[in-house]
Symmetry: C2
Subunit: 220 residues, 2 copies
């Protein structure tokens, strides 16, 4: 049973951690520093968070919650799929823009699925499904007609697309990450166009192929 005071300590530690992570980056921040900043002993931090990476996880969960409103606004603001997806991406990047090093830690962990905070692992399933759901809403009643056979999988495809962009954004050292911005411009056009074209009569086989790829990923 967690007491109210404990909950407060817990928050204090996370806040201290995020403050330091933002100021000097994830790697450069020491757990001892986090503890001192939060006014507790080193061990206390580990009492509330299993590891340094768990703090990232907590941040991840928090952003997911914080984004709900912004996401909803994006969907409501337009029926144009392109604008919607772009809007979702904007919210995402804005959330992480002050915390690039945390996203880097997240993606680093993404390599092995046993890691607690891999974006593809079990522990993050809830956040992931949440995010995928927003892409579903972006597609829903948008200006782009989606072929029935791939409708169920499209949200996940868009999510994967967005993960790829996140990855590139982290690698991107250009000033203001403008290479990423250009990449988004170029690929978003491509993606939307591809979707529009995919409804054409001759494209059935192509859609089937794509579905086959997705099935290859899923089936154990």
């Amino acid at each position: 049973m967690a007491t109210a005071k404990a909950e407060e300590t817990r928050d204090r530690i996370l806040d201290a951690a995020l403050r330091l992570f933002r100021e000097r980056g994830f790697e450069q921040t020491t757990m001892r520093e986090v503890a001192i900043e939060a006014g507790v002993a080193t061990g206390a931090a580990y009492y509330y968070y299993r590891s340094k990476e768990d703090l990232v996880m907590a941040f991840y969960l928090r952003t997911d919650d914080d984004a709900k409103e912004a996401f909803a606004n994006v969907i409501a603001s337009s029926k144009e799929l392109k604008k919607r997806v772009r809007g979702l991406l904007d919210v995402k990047f804005e959330q992480f823009t002050e915390h690039r090093s945390l996203l880097a830690a997240l993606l680093k962990a993404g390599v092995d699925p046993r890691a607690r905070l891999s974006p593809f692992g079990k522990e993050t399933k809830e956040v992931r499904d949440d995010n995928i759901e927003w892409f579903a809403r972006a597609l829903d009643e948008s200006d782009v007609n989606v072929p029935k056979d791939i409708a169920a999988d499209l949200p996940r495809l868009l999510w994967m697309y967005h993960m790829g962009l996140m990855y590139f954004w982290i690698i991107d050292e250009s000033p203001g990450q403008r290479r990423t911005r250009r990449l988004i411009d170029a690929t978003l056009d491509l993606v939307i166009q591809l979707l529009k074209v995919s409804t054409l009569p001759l494209m059935g086989p192509l859609r089937k192929r794509v579905l086959k790829v997705l099935r290859a990923i899923d089936e154990e």
Copy 2:
């Protein structure tokens, strides 16, 4: 100036490291253990290799060299592009199959380009260009006609495709990584088909779009 004896010590350390990495994985292997296994003091390992990850780099360089012959055989064995690419992938995966944890370390480092051994960073440029060159050779005089405008970029696209597969392979915990095998089957078909279709008269604009994406990636 490096003496012959030094060179031998250097090799001994790398061999010991790779042996241990193979037996118990990269993370689970201690630099102290590596040193002991090589019959030297801990410091000696750091005299020859700047860091634990540098050992991975050395392995990476070595595999690159070792693969040359196998790659050449693949290209020589068939003119069919699909078979060639499949062959290159097979060689790659075989090289890493005993060293999955090393590939994981490599991809982990891939997240930040400042890391010495990021597959996208400067330090690995030589190996990377080498690998891309092999995809160029696979395309050269193959059974698939390549449109001129994208010819120059195709090798790199194939290399990126292969990196994506590597990434998936690392994440893939299915027995014998058979999900990856299925993914290769499904995507390779897709890729080749796409290439074949891309020469059709109406596909000019699509190719232009793809090129635009690549340019967005390149330009600083």
